[in-house]
């Protein structure tokens, strides 16, 4: 199945709803939402989210790699995660 940018973001938001049902009261369900501060993502959720994204997109989505790539993980947003998925989908093999 082919995904465009919006399709990836929509799927990522749906998976986040499943993995992180409790969100910050101030969180907006958008690309700008913070994974740590709004979705309260923790270690177990990182592992589960990685797996669900892999199952959905049938591509390796190793979220710890995304976390390791930024200087301040609190800056990680839903949009950055969607972009990470997109880059993995389009990476030449």
């Amino acid at each position: 199945m082919m995904y465009d940018h919006q399709g990836i973001l929509t799927a990522v938001l749906q998976i986040l709803d499943e993995v992180c049902p409790e969100r910050s009261a101030n969180a907006t369900r958008s690309a700008q939402a913070s994974l740590i501060d709004d979705y309260y993502i923790d270690s177990l959720k990182i592992a589960e989210l990685s797996l669900l994204l892999e199952e959905t997109f049938d591509v390796s989505v190793f979220i710890p790699h995304l976390i390791a790539s930024v200087s301040d993980p609190h800056d990680l947003t839903v949009g950055a995660l969607a972009e990470f998925v997109r880059s993995n989908l389009t990476e030449p093999t």
Partner: protein, 323 residues
Amino acid sequence: MLNPDLPFASAEIEKLLGDAACATWTVSQDPLWDRPLDFERLKEVGTASLLQDIPSFTALSITQRNEVIHREGLYHLHNLMAGEHLGVFLAAQIIRDCPNDSLDCAYFTSTILADERNHMLALRRYLREKVGIVFSPNPALARIFDELMRETSYEVKLLASQLCLEWTAVSLISSIQFKNPEPLLRNILAAIVRDEGRHLRFNRWVFAHLTSARIAELQPRMEEMFFETTVAIVASFFAIPVWQQYGFAPDACRDYALRDLHARGAMRYFTRILPRQLKRCRFKSDRLIHLLETELEQRIVDAHFELQPTCIATDTTGIRHDV
């Protein structure tokens, strides 16, 4: 055997190998090694102990509680270091046992060996030189490591060590990167995670290219080792040597820690979510899920009582204590 014309069967693995060769390991040159650790910042970990509800823990001052959590984190880093150490030896066995009709498996596994060596040495230096506290790894992990070294199938070794143990460990410790403000540890973990991303892609390639007959042949052993490895992972969350240091009652530790694992969703994760990793590698197993749902908790309790860990604690003055 000595055939310099051996090809790569996969362009993807050839590229991954090239990526590994270009990925310079710079952790040992990090200037932060030359600066003293800020132990007060190190203890501002922001995580919660599995014993957060036990009365003898809640009775401690905030400073003491942070000290317990800090030591639990160090204990988990020692378990990670032990896994990296085992990874070196398992990789050597995999290179010896894997197919040698192409370069892919043996050559890529040689990068895993080198990566695990780098990880182990960096963690060892950090824990001994910078932190000055040394724990023995959890006995349940030591037991599964021994079993993996005796395993005859290189595929089972690869899946249990890389996918079950390492993938889980790295996913779980990745939160340390945003919860622990100590920059040197963060840099070490970030470098480890970057390498593990490559290992994961290699594992997926190996299992995508096994024949269906081989998958069927390996299935019972894979289920058994995946289950035993999961038992060891969850048992290793029980930081018994740390809890002993603070005099917490063993029975209460077991009960509260198990309750906390349920409350955090960890038991659900290990019984329902982690087996799906196996399925992603073409090993779909209702039997494994049944085993995990019915026997995991009891096996963790057994591990808690059967294995009395030995612990060596060395404080920053270099004094070693048998605990």
